[in-house]
């Protein structure tokens, strides 16, 4: 590029030539036609400049700069979600919409890394099982259902980056607050049964999951995400390959028609739009398997520190956590009322929550809540408590869960470079007017 002219000027004058000058590449014939058809120049006018980088922009699409607002963004079959990003779609659930024991499909969070497949019809969908197995197998979804025991389980499923917005200094990525968690009722088969049918070789130590979504750049050689788990987690009877969610078809944005549900681990291990499970004799090295993705430092680090790649470990079980789902934060009690029922859910990765406590005096004293047993392992657990406020005033309700290992939710979880595993106590505000 010539130094005396700015990039913008170059592109304004002739986007095709500029693209060539900057990147030393020619725009492909298809693209060229599109550019010549004035599409690009016209769009460029609209955003106040031409569009470099047209190679990756499918024809007919407007640049995202023209449609930046997420406020009026609608996803059919979903409502009430807080949209963090529209491309790729990332949306979380406000706490009060997580009050149901079984999270409704309409309120279930979305975490996309790439572009979902064009068709999510179960017709013709195939799953391949290969790698360190005795025999490569290939199934239609109906064959999975015919051949293996079909199970239905309520399973907690949380994004590893849930709570990222609470870290300071800020960590990069989607700024989830508390809503990248769901507990739906999933129907499918145990991954273990499917792997056993193919015959797991002794050399198999890790799974590699592959889906049908495509990379944001449009480059067919790039993969948006491909993660896996150690073989022992894949063989756990609660790790499922599912095709139904709450007795209905899975929502397309939640991975229809087939996905993994690997409960209690970062959501990214539950590959969506599942097409292939490969067994490997090494820790899988697919996209987003290497540090810092879905990894945290071995030792706690000073906030903002640079951490060497070798000092990261892959996240496995998610930490103990809970949410207050009723009332909604900002609740005002009616005049003269001093009692309030509060409730929510608690969960803990591979473990079980054994104690749930709430405080209304900024953590000075704690009230033990009623905690229900999970309906099945790996479901979140309902808790509820009744509080009596001694005076009028502004109250905060804080909630903390403890698991069977004695681990309890902290006030402030350890900072880490990518902002994972924020299991800080959830807080809501309540006004008692008189």
């Amino acid at each position: 590029m010539r130094k005396d002219r700015g990039l913008r000027e170059l592109y304004e004058q002739d986007p095709i030539a500029a693209d060539e000058a900057v990147f030393g590449r020619r725009t492909g014939p298809d693209r060229r036609g599109f550019l010549k058809g004035a599409g690009l120049a016209a769009m460029g006018l609209a955003i106040g400049g031409a569009i470099p980088f047209s190679r990756t922009m499918p024809a007919g699409l407007i640049p995202a700069a023209l449609a930046e607002s997420v406020e009026d963004f609608v996803i059919e079959g979903k409502n009430g979600l807080r949209v963090l990003n529209d491309k790729p779609v990332n949306a979380e659930t406000p706490p009060h919409l997580l009050d149901d024991d079984v999270t409704p499909i309409a309120h279930y969070f979305i975490r996309n890394n790439g572009v979902p497949p064009e068709s999510t019809s179960p017709q013709g969908w195939r799953l391949t099982v290969d790698g360190e197995v005795n025999e490569t197998l290939n199934f239609a979804i109906s064959e999975l259902a015919d051949r293996f025991e079909v199970v239905t389980l309520r399973l907690q499923h949380e994004c590893g980056g849930n709570g990222r917005a609470g870290f300071n200094p800020p960590a990069s990525g989607n700024q989830w607050t508390t809503g990248a968690i769901g507990n739906a009722e999933w129907t499918g088969v145990r991954m273990r049964d499917v792997l056993n049918a193919a015959g797991v070789k002794d050399s198999a130590i890790y799974t590699a999951h592959h889906g049908a979504d495509s990379h944001l750049s449009g480059d067919p050689d790039k993969v948006p995400i491909s993660r896996g788990v150690p073989i022992w987690k894949a063989m756990d009877p609660h790790t499922l390959i599912v095709w139904r969610m709450n007795g209905q078809d899975i929502h397309p944005m939640n991975g229809a028609p087939l996905r993994i549900l690997c409960p209690g681990w970062p959501g990214s291990t539950s590959q969506k739009w599942l097409t292939r499970i490969q067994l490997r004799d090494v820790v899988h090295d697919g996209t987003k398997m290497s540090a810092p993705s879905y990894s945290v430092p071995y030792h706690s680090v000073q906030p903002g520190a640079d951490v060497a790649e070798a000092d990261f470990k892959i996240i496995e079980s998610m930490p103990v956590k809970s949410l207050i789902t009723s009332p909604r934060s900002g609740h005002h009690l009616p005049t003269g009322h001093r009692k309030l029922r509060v409730r929510g859910h608690a969960w803990s990765g591979d473990d079980v929550v054994t104690k749930m406590e709430v405080s209304y005096d900024f953590g000075a004293t704690w009230v033990t809540a009623d905690l229900h047993a999970p309906p099945n392992p790996y479901s979140w657990q309902r808790w509820e408590a009744e509080l009596s406020f001694p005076t009028k005033g502004y109250y905060e309700i804080w909630a903390r869960a403890t698991n069977d290992r004695g681990e309890q939710q902290p006030f402030i979880p350890p900072w880490n470079p990518k902002g994972y595993l924020n299991n800080a106590m959830h807080r809501i505000a309540v006004m008692v007017p008189a």
């Binding site: 955003i47 007919g60 990069s172």
Partner: protein, 143 residues
Amino acid sequence: MSMDAARFPDRVGRTGKRGVVAAAVCAAALVLLPPATASAQNDDTPAIEDMPGDGEGKWIVQSWCSACHSLNIVKQQGMTRHRWDETLVWMVNKQGMPDLPDDARATVLDYLAEHFGPDHRPDATFGQPSSTGIGLQPLMPPQ
């Protein structure tokens, strides 16, 4: 409209005024947009104004960084120049972004560090939620 919208035409869409704008411009992309394309500019809250600042840095970020994902992922961040630098390296090495020419790269880093530095409390375009319910921020807007 987004790439997902194009692929899921009946599942993802926009409502309201901006939806209309998007549709108009979308059509124009295939036909020819009248110059001055007032529709985008005259909208009450033109999307393009959502990015702060001005100049070459803003222009490059708007056009370059919206090619694969929307700018919402950029606007959500609050990072030092150093972390922005690392992010751009990651974008090039892992995500297939062609590297920016040296001077443009510096201009982009300056822009990002100025407008989306660590003091920028990240959020989507709604403005900061009254509380995240985690960490130490006040739960209700302080009076």
